[in-house]
């Protein structure tokens, strides 16, 4: 673990030169995998994540099937070499919790009722981890779902906000995450409904509200990049029309 920096903000800039509301660079590659029904490789700062989607497909064992909708399954996993100290391969309590909240971030947007008795499987592999792997995984998974042609009300876009040196800043890098005062990962739809919200650290309610707004602006930026990637790939307007989605946001959910 690196040393704690003395200060995180110098002359209004962060350690990597970013302003408070600036994202790290994001690079998106659609359909990098051949076997998966949909896939996305995403770099975010020094994070490297791969997402793959299979489904809708038959779910085994049968007693786990739902007669009225598809069952979403989400597996977040870190490669053993993705962090400084090698981690043992396989699930741990952290990855189980992240898998759960990530799955729930998508359940409001996927039209699971179209596919009763099936499973929609989302796999996220963190190949290289910096701070923010769960939000990176959600952004990649969102595009992999689109790439697989899974019908959704909206893309999901995610971004974390935190607090360092008393300031609320967007998209924590690793040092800010390790030694900062708070971390708030958020995922939302185009209609700005929150589908993932966690927080740890120390914030006053006022700071939290500010953080939430900043996170939402981050998600909007991410959405722009996601949309652009889909447009470039499919060379046409992606089927989710932004305005339609907004108006749809207040409507009935598929759950």
């Amino acid at each position: 673990m690196s040393e704690r920096p003395e200060r995180f903000i110098i002359d209004g800039k962060r350690l990597d030169g970013r302003s408070f509301d600036e994202l790290r660079p994001i690079k998106i590659e659609l359909s990098p995998l051949d076997r998966a029904d949909g896939s996305c490789y995403l770099e975010w700062g020094r994070n490297k994540v791969m997402a793959a989607v299979y489904g809708p497909r038959e779910l085994h064992p049968r007693h786990r099937q739902n007669m009225t909708r598809a069952v979403m399954q989400f597996r977040y996993n870190m490669a053993s070499f993705s962090v400084d100290d090698r981690i043992r391969p396989g699930h741990n309590r952290r990855s189980i919790e992240i898998s759960k909240v990530s799955r729930e971030a998508f359940e409001p947007v996927v039209f699971t009722k179209f596919f009763p008795k099936t499973a929609i499987d989302v796999f996220v592999e963190v190949l290289r981890a910096d701070a923010g792997t769960r939000t990176a995984g959600i952004n990649a998974a969102s595009l992999a779902l689109a790439d697989a042609g899974i019908p959704m009300r909206s893309l999901v876009s995610a971004c974390a906000v935190g607090k360092v040196d008393g300031e609320i800043v967007l998209d924590l890098m690793k040092e800010e995450d390790n030694y900062g005062e708070a971390d708030v990962p958020v995922a939302m739809t185009v209609g700005e409904e929150i589908t993932l919200l966690q927080m740890d650290g120390h914030l006053t309610p006022k700071e939290f509200y500010k953080a939430l707004e900043l996170a939402k602006s981050g998600c909007r930026q991410v959405y722009g990049l996601q949309r652009q990637a889909l447009v470039e790939k499919y060379n046409k307007d992606y089927s989710v029309d932004e305005d339609d989605a907004r108006s749809d946001a207040g409507g009935d959910s598929d759950e």
Binding site: R94, P108, D200, H202, F208
Partner: protein, 265 residues
């Protein structure tokens, strides 16, 4: 001709959903509470004398027993001078007839991790004071959450039980030849409060049925000074910004009341 089929769980769930939904539209809850009202709470501490701290919390029909054990052990290599907190929750099959939904133990792991983060991030325990010999020996605090009866909202009961047990925990110096026994130094009292969204309304302290029917819940952990040290959204429906702000407010008020009534020393 009538086919007589046993009502499936799905049908039962739908009937119950409609019943509770209609109640909420009328501003009512099945047990007569107002939307921002907790069920009856009792907290009994020092119930298990083999533990170094313990608390039995009842929240309506929910019963959670928390036991704290303190043992010397090795610190983590990257934090050689601070103590360790290990929180574990067991959704023992005694507590409810259902098998856990979803992948195994996911629910119990989430409860343990949210309670753990609340304690840890509030800096309620001064972990530096739990260092015995830097890099070699620190106190390890095991918080074991035993859910005996799941009447709904077990996360809040677990959170309240954990801090109540910690408030009565002794550092067992004498048992391990590490000086005298002394009370565990607790600096703050984080309390988790869960609110569910249901039919557009926000209901505090969901009963078991409310929790099942609600699309989503938001747990907010607040401290004595009103600051927030943890949040966790759980469930399959989204929340609006406005709902989140209202929930934070409800949680702060409820936590303050529980803290004053039950947990202040």
């Amino acid at each position: 001709m009538l086919a007589v089929i046993p009502m499936s769980n799905d049908v039962m769930a739908e009937i119950q959903h409609d019943y509770l939904f209609n109640l909420v539209l009328k501003g009512e809850r099945a047990d007569g509470r107002s939307f921002d009202e907790f069920r009856e709470i009792t907290i009994e501490t020092n119930v298990i004398d083999t533990a170094d701290g313990s608390a039995l919390v009842t929240l309506g029909t929910t019963q959670v027993l928390v036991g704290v054990k303190v043992q010397p052990g090795e610190p983590f290599p990257d934090t050689p001078d601070v103590g360790v907190i290990i929180t574990n929750a067991e959704l023992i099959p005694m507590a409810s007839p259902e098998f856990e939904a979803g992948p195994p133990r996911e629910g119990a792991i989430e409860i343990a991790r949210v309670v753990d983060r609340g304690i840890r991030e509030s800096k309620s325990i001064d972990l530096k004071k739990l260092c015995v010999t830097e890099g070699e020996k620190v106190w390890i605090i095991f918080i074991d959450i035993h859910i005996l009866d799941n009447g709904g909202n077990i996360l809040d009961a677990a959170s309240i039980g954990a801090i109540a047990a910690l408030l009565t925990t002794t550092l067992p110096g004498a048992r391990y030849d590490e000086g005298e026994d002394m009370p565990l130094p607790v600096r703050d009292i984080p309390v988790a409060i869960t609110t569910v969204e249901f039919g557009g309304e926000l209901l505090l302290d969901p009963s078991l049925d409310e929790g099942k029917i609600a699309g989503t819940s938001l747990t907010v952990i607040t401290n004595s000074d009103g600051s927030i040290s943890g949040m966790q959204k759980s469930g399959t429906d989204p929340l609006t910004t406005d709902q989140i702000i209202r929930i934070v407010d409800m949680a702060k008020t409820a936590a303050e009341e529980i803290r004053t009534k039950f947990l202040e020393v």
